[in-house]
């Protein structure tokens, strides 16, 4: 199976040799390339599966909602790029399919959005940022900045949802209500991954996809 790290390492190695970079510069370039390719893979997979199920825009809205909030709040992590991308596809396309096929009205949209944002603001205030062993966050200054960033992102999402609901009512177009709920669901999912239960669920999904993709158990995969 293809290896994103291998691809970005080889590309970074070639770049470093041509441009005569030192080891430190090589590591930074490799990290940046890996990040770029992983994000690209994730978005491409969401586009493919979202389009296949007829929920492209909804799935992309959920995906970007989660990813943008995740930049400040952190959260549970998968152990491989492919299992992460798979969780991403499942976590965006399935809710998109459910939302697109629901009978939505403005009252439910407002109530659900308010409830979701109360829970999300509480969880982000209490728990954000949640780091990972590969990217520890130790500086108090950075913790405060990221927590503030999460809360500001949530406020911006609330404003966007309010505008969407207003547009939906004004133009008598239910699609805007669906988009509002996509943002709300994305926010809820991302906030959930900050919690202990969220980490457990994420780990279960990670183990499931590692088994499906690599035909190995999680511990066996980590040992190798």
């Amino acid at each position: 199976m293809f290896n994103l790290k291998g691809i970005s390492s080889n590309l970074a190695k070639n770049l470093s040799e041509e441009l005569k970079f030192n080891q430190e510069k090589y590591e930074v370039v490799e990290y940046g390339l890996h990040a770029f390719f992983h994000a690209l893979l994730s978005v491409i997979l969401v586009i493919i599966f979202g389009a296949a199920f007829g929920v492209l825009l909804e799935a992309l809205i959920i995906s970007f909602t989660v990813s943008i909030l995740r930049r400040s709040s952190g959260g549970a992590h998968a152990s491989t790029e492919l299992s992460c991308a798979s969780i991403g596809v499942v976590g965006t396309v399935i809710p998109a399919i459910i939302l697109a096929s629901c009978n939505i009205n403005i009252t439910y949209t407002i109530i659900i959005s308010i409830l979701i944002f109360i829970v999300s603001i509480y969880l982000n205030y209490k728990l954000a940022p949640v780091d990972s062993p590969n990217k520890p966050i130790r500086s108090e200054k950075k913790i405060k900045r990221l927590k503030k960033g999460s809360l500001i992102t949530l406020i911006i999402y609330m404003i966007i949802i309010t505008l969407n609901i207003f547009l939906g009512v004004k133009l008598n177009n239910l699609s805007f209500l669906v988009y509002s709920l996509c943002i709300a669901i994305g926010t809820l999912w991302q906030s959930f991954t900050l919690t202990k239960l969220g980490h457990i669920v994420f780990k279960l999904m990670d183990s499931f996809f590692i088994f499906i993709l690599f035909r190995k158990g999680r511990k066996q995969y980590e040992k190798n």
């Binding site: 930074v28 992460c84 991403g88 991954t193």
Partner: protein, 44 residues
């Protein structure tokens, strides 16, 4: 031709460095996978 190649490579390296720096200032870069951060970018 070599000069153009070098310019393209420099642009790619600069973009990769920019992405790495952006990721380093955040809690996570995209969805649920986080590769090991280089020591020079760590906040310790």
């Amino acid at each position: 031709m070599r000069k153009i190649n070098n310019k393209v490579l420099m642009a790619v390296a600069a973009l990769a460095t920019l992405i790495a720096s952006t990721v380093a200032t955040s809690a996570c870069y995209w969805y649920g996978y986080q590769p090991e951060e280089p020591k020079c970018l760590r906040d310790e």
